[in-house]
């Protein structure tokens, strides 16, 4: 490809011919996080400690210490995050191929179904129906599950009841199929986690993590603004922090969308 095509792309972004859509929630201390049984190591919440604000602590500058767990807010899951991917090569955020950080996305709109049923599960027939309309999912594409869950108030967003979280996600069969039969590069959701809220009870438990990371693929979660993306044709940029042997990180996920 000629370098002038790249410059054309830059110009198109500048002019708005290519829109840049931010799919990222603001990283803040009060955003809902994954809730684990209390006996497990607790994930540190996002903390922002002001160091100075043009004051005696630092007269001309404002800056903060920021601390967070790798899996807080809008974040990326690398294969090393799950036991099924632990022995794969280049499986951490600092060793994954950088070219994997840009890829096209297929957005599957299940917002109507999710509105009716918080435990809605994406299945093979639902994806096949989508493919009948939009064409086959290409290899090395992201599949993003749009549920409009990101528009909810945060209590409904986390939707924790006394038997755990009730949020939509994929069933085991569709995950295995997307990974093996469609060769997806990764799966993304609007909810806390690539898996459904009740996925701990599936077989295997947490099938999105199980199959994605077991095949060296990636996860994205707590995405928003998926309703601004076309079903096909958006290009996702998702580059996690280069944390030494990191299992993931909060990141800025942006989508390039043609305005026409």
């Amino acid at each position: 490809m000629q370098s002038s095509n790249l410059l054309e792309l830059a110009g198109a972004i500048s002019s708005g011919a290519v829109r840049v859509v931010d799919l990222t929630f603001t990283l803040s201390p009060d955003f809902p996080v994954i809730v684990l049984p209390p006996e497990f190591s607790p994930a540190a919440p996002v903390r922002i400690q002001e160091l100075s604000r043009y004051d005696a602590r630092g007269p001309a500058w404002y800056w903060n210490n920021v601390s967070f767990c790798e899996h807080t807010g809008t974040h990326f899951d690398a294969p090393i995050h799950w036991f099924t991917g632990k022995d794969l090569p280049n499986n951490a955020v600092d060793t994954m191929p950088p070219k994997d950080m840009l890829a096209p996305a297929c957005v599957i709109d299940c917002s109507a179904q999710a509105k009716q049923d918080p435990d809605f599960l994406l299945t093979i027939p639902v994806v096949e129906a989508w493919e009948a309309q939009h064409g086959r999912i290409p290899e090395r594409n992201w599949v993003l599950l749009r549920t409009d869950w990101s528009k909810k108030g945060w209590r409904d967003y986390a939707n924790l009841r006394d038997d755990g979280a009730h949020t939509p996600g994929p069933n085991p069969a569709v995950m295995k199929w997307l990974v093996e039969q469609r060769g997806i590069i990764g799966f993304g959701t609007e909810t806390i986690g690539t898996d459904a809220g009740q996925a701990g009870h599936f077989d295997p438990p947490y099938p999105a993590h199980h199959f994605l990371h077991g095949a060296g693929r990636y996860g994205l979660q707590c995405l928003c603004n998926l309703d601004q993306l076309p079903a096909k044709g958006a290009v996702i940029i998702a580059s996690p922090l280069k944390i030494q042997n990191g299992s993931g990180s909060p990141l800025r996920v942006i989508a390039l969308v043609s305005s026409s």
Partner: protein
């Protein structure tokens, strides 16, 4: 008989706030035997070990036999009011603002004659019940009240200067998720608090007691995550000038010590919640509380911490938790000194294992959350500073006073 105090009116925002003056602070080292007694709600006098004479004020030699052996012991509280006087124009700033002020001479049944502050219902010749109270400079003073309870007794103007009574005050309970927090809300309402702000972190997570709290009058559920400095700053911006009493019910309890854990993730949470949370709360709410110590009937009055007694002596089964509590204890002494110029008391409650889930495997006796809540209110109404709640805490206190090394070995079972 005294009239009940009127509920305070809304503050006039155009008027300057009266700053907190302090009564005289100078004390001898010996007289801090009374400070210790007042802090714990005990009545102690020196009693000569040689001739058993009770002595007052604090001294280095027995007034009767000149023996130097004068330990402080628990003493009988009963006395008779010999004479009383009313100071009408004192020159000291603190007392001048609060004149007229009654003091009297009390002849104790056990011997000494004590100059004491008087409750309005004390009359000459009548029996009185003596106590040592911490005044607004944090020092012990003698205070006489009628022997029998009288109507509206706690509303006495001079008594309210010695205590942090929740009646008509607005109280922030920092953590309303815990059983202790919820019971404290109930106890404060029963004690006549005007408003109880109930702090809840992560409101997106459901919490027990929410339905119950939302039905009550005089309760405001507020978003508060003490370990998030912005959350504290935001709440302080909203209600900082209205918090008269702050009750720190932060709770993060996990078993484990040093070598039976792997990594520092839990330790980080312990420090984040208990220690940094404490710092954030103090920096958020402390300055306004310190400034409002003389701000009328609902002046700011107290900061209360619920601490583990193992802050004083590490219990290895909960060794990391003990250490984080010890850090909070030390910090609380610093905050106590910093709040003192504002006449705001800092009260620490020490409790043994509580009858809640993270102490499940610990055999009784365990402290009920309700007992802690009631002890908080009692401490506020009596103006106490160091409170030991339940049998285990009291046992630890005694063993620590007798031989800390023995206690250390006994806790290492």
């Amino acid at each position: 008989m005294i009239n009940p105090i009127d509920p305070p009116r809304r503050k006039n925002p155009l008027l300057r706030t009266r700053l907190p003056a302090s009564p005289p602070r100078a004390r001898s080292r010996k007289s801090h035997g009374f400070t210790r007694a007042a802090a714990e709600g005990r009545f102690m006098l020196q009693r000569c070990a040689a001739c058993n004479t009770f002595a007052y004020p604090a001294r280095d030699a027995c007034p009767s036999c000149l023996s130097a052996d004068l330990p402080f012991v628990d003493a009988p509280r009963r006395g008779t009011l010999l004479a009383e006087t009313t100071a009408r124009v004192p020159s000291d700033v603190y007392f001048r603002e609060r004149a007229p002020w009654r003091i009297g001479l009390v002849k104790m049944d056990c011997g000494p004659t004590i100059v004491a502050h008087l409750h309005a219902d004390c009359s000459e010749g009548a029996p009185v019940r003596m106590s040592f109270q911490l005044d607004k400079s944090g020092q012990a003073v003698a205070f006489a009240r009628p022997e029998e309870e009288t109507p509206n007794m706690d509303d006495d103007r001079q008594w309210r200067e010695m205590t942090a009574d929740p009646k008509f005050r607005r109280v922030l309970v920092t953590n309303g998720r815990s059983a202790i927090g919820l019971e404290t809300v109930t106890a404060l309402q029963a004690a006549g608090a005007k408003t109880v702000f109930v702090g809840v972190a992560e409101p997106w997570r459901p919490f027990a007691g929410e339905q119950h709290l939302r039905k009550l009058d005089g309760i405001e559920i507020v978003a508060l995550d003490a370990s998030d400095e912005k959350s504290v700053a935001n709440l302080a911006a909203d209600i900082g000038g209205k918090v008269d009493i702050l009750i720190n019910t932060t709770e993060y309890i996990r078993p484990g010590g040093v070598l039976d854990r792997k990594g520092t993730a839990i330790a980080r949470e312990e420090i984040d919640h208990a220690y940094l949370g404490f710092l954030n709360l103090a920096q958020g709410f402390g300055p306004a509380m310190r400034m409002r110590g003389a701000d009328g009937v609902n002046s700011s009055a107290a900061w209360v911490n619920v601490l583990s007694v193992y802050a004083l002596a590490n219990w290895p089964a909960y060794g990391a938790y003990s250490a984080s509590q010890a850090a909070c204890l030390s910090l609380s002494h610093c905050l106590r000194a910093e709040l003192r110029p504002g006449g705001v008391k800092l009260t620490n409650l020490f409790t043994g294992p509580v009858d809640t889930e993270w102490f499940q495997m610990v055999p009784p006796p365990k402290v009920a959350p309700r007992a802690i809540a009631q002890a908080i209110v009692a401490a506020l109404k009596s103006g106490l500073e160091d409170v030991y709640v339940g049998d285990v805490a009291e046992e630890i206190r005694q063993r620590l006073a007798a031989n800390p090394k023995a206690l250390e070995r006994e806790l290492d079972r």
